[in-house]
């Protein structure tokens, strides 16, 4: 008896037991019976283990739009065409398999590299604190007003590199049946702003200022964390935005905070960095290097963060991407109880900065930090900007 003799619905049932995208694609390529009995778009697939989107190659032609994505499962590099890509682009987020792209215009575009679908978010000039945008006024294109009514100007490059820290989505922009919300963390002011698919402008979430370390979509709300580990829970679903607070006991220490949805709970991850001084070609570079991570889970009784020393076999992926957790045993090549991290402190990552990237794997169990063993140093290091970013490859 041949598997091809199985009824199509049974072949589909078997195919849907496959959780790794590559396995599903290969299943469909075995024979025509396998192909016709399974849907092309694998909507059943859970989020896939992230690829690392590498910087543009040092020997890459400026007009080439091919980008390299490193799969840590098998150390393979996948080449994907990202239409319109150039040296002048920066990513300020990766969420549900979509990249959020900024360039030297006010335009904010989002793209899924695997499906090549593109959409747009409201432009930079639509944030309420951006009073005007004058493309001709070189070096001072944007005029921005602060909370204290001070006014300052900003160049297109500065705007691209440091206005927005991170953008995440509530759900996949690929989903035609649902409207997603996008939430942006603004760097300088520490504000949160959001929009719904199709909106023309970004709206500020007034009470959530300073909850700007990281944000995650959890149980139908955006949860944003402050430097001290307190949380603002923002419900943007209704006609007005509803913000409530989880006043946890204050966390001290650490340089950056992340919030991750882990199984069905929230984790707080604190990143500790050290300053390094690199003297290279008589130029002094000050770079940050991560020393360790500490992980905490939320204890509702007493509202505190309790340290954990292992992640129940999960791995975390942190950086400029929306923070993610994966069960390591579901994906070959993924180490368990580890934090995979990349750079994301934008004030030190700007066009022209030098030095190697701060990326690697931190083992929570033994406290050891290692470089990412499969990272191809040869073509991708030296220029610090733009840093690599984790992205979960998604066909839907």
């Amino acid at each position: 008896m041949d598997l091809s003799d199985l009824p199509p619905e049974l072949l589909e049932t078997i195919a849907k037991k496959l959780k790794v995208q590559k396995d599903y694609i290969r299943f469909r390529a075995v024979s025509s019976a396998f192909q016709t009995s399974t849907p092309k778009t694998p909507k059943h697939l859970p989020s896939q283990l992230p690829w690392l989107m590498l910087p543009r190659r040092t020997d890459q032609h400026p007009d080439s739009s091919i980008r390299s994505f490193l799969s840590i499962s098998d150390a393979k590099i996948h080449l994907v065409n990202l239409p319109g890509d150039s040296d002048h682009h920066r990513r300020c987020g990766s969420s549900h398999g979509w990249l959020v792209i900024l360039d030297e215009t006010p335009c904010i575009s989002i793209v899924n590299p695997l499906t090549q679908q593109t959409q747009h978010l409201p432009p930079l000039s639509s944030f309420l604190n951006v009073i005007s945008y004058a493309p001709g006024d070189s070096g001072r294109e944007y005029t921005i007003k602060t909370l204290d009514d001070d006014v300052y100007t900003c160049s297109s490059k500065e705007m691209r590199d440091s206005f927005i820290k991170k953008v995440i989505f509530s759900s996949s922009p690929s989903d035609e049946d649902a409207d997603y919300y996008a939430l942006a963390i603004l760097n300088q002011t520490g504000d949160l702003a959001y929009c719904k698919k199709g909106n023309q402008r970004w709206k500020f979430i007034d009470d959530a200022n300073s909850y700007c370390e990281d944000v995650v979509y959890y149980k139908d709300c955006f949860y944003a964390v402050s430097k001290h580990g307190t949380i603002a829970k923002c419900d943007v679903n209704g006609l007005t935005t509803d913000v409530s607070f989880i006043e946890t006991q204050r966390q001290n220490g650490g340089d950056m905070q992340y919030l991750v949805k882990w199984k069905d709970e929230l984790l707080l991850v604190t990143r500790y960095t050290e300053l390094e001084f690199n003297m290279d070609h008589n130029k002094l570079d000050i770079v940050y290097k991560t020393g360790e991570f500490q992980v905490y889970k939320l204890i509702l009784n007493g509202l505190k963060w309790e340290g954990v020393s292992e992640l129940d076999g999960y791995a975390l992926f942190l950086g400029e991407n929306s923070s993610m957790a994966f069960c390591a045993s579901d994906f070959p090549g993924c180490k368990k109880d580890c934090v995979y991290f990349t750079d994301d402190y934008s004030e030190w990552n700007y066009d022209g900065a030098n030095g190697n990237h701060d990326l690697g794997v931190f083992d929570l169990g033994n406290g050891c930090l290692e470089a990412l063993s499969c990272y191809p140093e040869e073509f991708y290091s030296g220029r610090r900007w733009p840093p690599p970013i984790w992205i979960t490859p998604s066909l839907h």
């Binding site: 008896m1 619905e9 049932t13 078997i14 396995d23 299943f27 075995v30 025509s32 080449l79």
Partner: protein
């Protein structure tokens, strides 16, 4: 449900098996046949399944109906699917036709696990499947997955 009523199941090759009604009802297909077949339906034909496979299916249903909370149910299931490929496929097919969800999940997951991490060629070899794509269709497949997940 302490009925001691028994049902006879007849396979495609004429083999008959007498089982407790409660065990037989584990198959939703048989349950439907009994409920719609009238009072005389004590013998049910299962033409899609051979005697060998039906015997194993009954063994599965018996265990799951008579001892659903037993501690060794998980190891029973694990051992149950340690069979050769052909038997596994027959079990999957039978559980599909007889609408036995637990066995369908178990057998299809076991088959799926045999696909994990294999290349397309390795899958064809393992399961003895012929590549029936035309060269044009293969080219189309390659183009669709242009980031080269095929290797």
């Amino acid at each position: 449900m302490t009925s001691s009523k028994t049902i006879v199941l007849r396979s495609s090759d004429g083999a008959t098996f007498e089982v407790d009604e409660a065990v037989a009802l584990h198959s939703l297909m048989i349950k439907h046949r009994i409920e719609t077949g009238g009072a005389d339906s004590t013998t049910i034909d299962v033409p899609e399944v051979t005697g060998n496979t039906l015997s194993k299916v009954i063994e599965y249903c018996k265990k799951h109906v008579e001892a659903p909370n037993s501690d060794d149910l998980k190891s029973f299931d694990t051992d149950f699917v340690k069979v050769d490929q052909a038997v596994l496929c027959h079990l999957a097919k039978a559980s599909y036709y007889m609408n036995i969800k637990g066995l369908l999940d178990l057998s299809s997951k076991t088959i799926a696990d045999m696909f994990k991490g294999k290349t397309v060629e390795q899958i064809r070899e393992t399961f003895h499947i012929k590549n029936d794509f035309t060269p044009e269709e293969e080219e189309e497949l390659r183009k669709e997955n242009s980031w080269n997940l095929f290797v």
